[in-house]
Symmetry: C2
Subunit: 170 residues, 2 copies
DNA sequence: TAGCATTAGTTTTAAAATGCAACTAACTTT
DNA sequence: AAAGTTAGTTGCATTTTAAAACTAATGCTA
């Protein structure tokens, strides 16, 4: 069964998931952040415990989508390694958001943790918080989800995100 | 072939992906944010275009993991609907991060967009930005990825995230 | 340079996941 | 009560997945 593509969906989330939404893809992307930035095929395979054919396929998808690129292992060499592109590095907020969600709701009793620290004080960074363009922190009450037409000011539909909490109380 | 579980992985990203990493799961979660908060089975199926057996399975996983819960459609009624839990609402930063990544690198020429707006000025919220616990905005140069033991200050390993960009230039 | 070791895939196979469509019991509406 | 709707359940064919073996290409060393 060919998995249904989300590319026809109006939401950018769906576009994103078409690239990074397959089993293993985000973990592969994470591995590039855990290291010097350049990873070889067998390094990825070792650290992830993924089958070679699946890793080959996922790397191709990520390369075709411009998230990673191939670079020679050595100047003039033929062996290739992979590294994140700017588009791939741009996934850092997604990675952080998911890690913070996982940290907060984690049920395992593991001993080892992966974290993002601020270099100046070596403390974990704060939970990601939405801000307005003017820099004001936004809570759930301050935001709404909308559907609109590109280039037009008129909104087709709009939902306060706070309604989620009211539905719970009611 | 049973998909390999990531639950043994040390990273919270993997824990998160075990819950929300299956094809369709994040889109289902998104659908709760696009509406009044309570969704019924057929509403989800209609808007997503997903098969009933797959939707049933995904809803079970998300319910078992505590991301959504079942509520009666009407007081005293038997029909059930679903709504996000607090744990589910906590996925908002993840949703926003992925939408913003998708928006920035979007290649389709679709006309309809889903966005998160600040209610005070009806402008799109700013791109998510990491901050230190003191509230200072952090760039890639200001952060590092680390592996450490729970409860200990000693770091096992540490990588500057900026190394990713240096690897590109070099 | 030759020989050996390593690497990055490729292929085969069996089990599981997926999507489509039909079915059905339970629930709701008229 | 009858009719319509709903939330699954089931059967089936195709695709995906993971494990393991294979192989050509590359790199290293004597």
């Amino acid at each position: 069964m060919v998995k249904k593509s989300f590319s026809g969906d109006i939401c950018s989330l769906a576009q994103a998931l078409d690239v990074i939404g397959e089993w293993w893809s985000m973990l592969i992307v994470r591995d590039f952040f855990l290291g010097a930035g350049v990873r070889r095929f067998e390094q990825l395979r070792d650290s992830l415990g993924i089958s070679r054919n699946i890793l080959t396929e996922r790397l191709r998808t990520l390369t075709d989508a411009g998230v990673i690129e191939r670079v020679p292992v050595k100047e003039g060499g033929r062996r290739q390694a992979y590294q994140l592109t700017e588009k791939g590095i741009d996934l850092l907020p997604t990675l952080i958001a998911m890690m913070q969600w996982g940290d907060r709701w984690r049920s395992d009793s593991g001993q080892k943790f992966v974290s993002v620290l601020a270099r100046e004080d070596h403390q974990p960074i704060a939970p990601l918080q939405a801000h307005s363009q003017a820099g004001k922190p936004l809570s759930i009450d301050d935001m709404c989800m909308t559907v609109h037409i590109k280039g037009e000011d008129r909104l087709i539909e709009e939902w306060p995100i706070s309604a989620l909490q009211k539905a719970k109380v009611g």
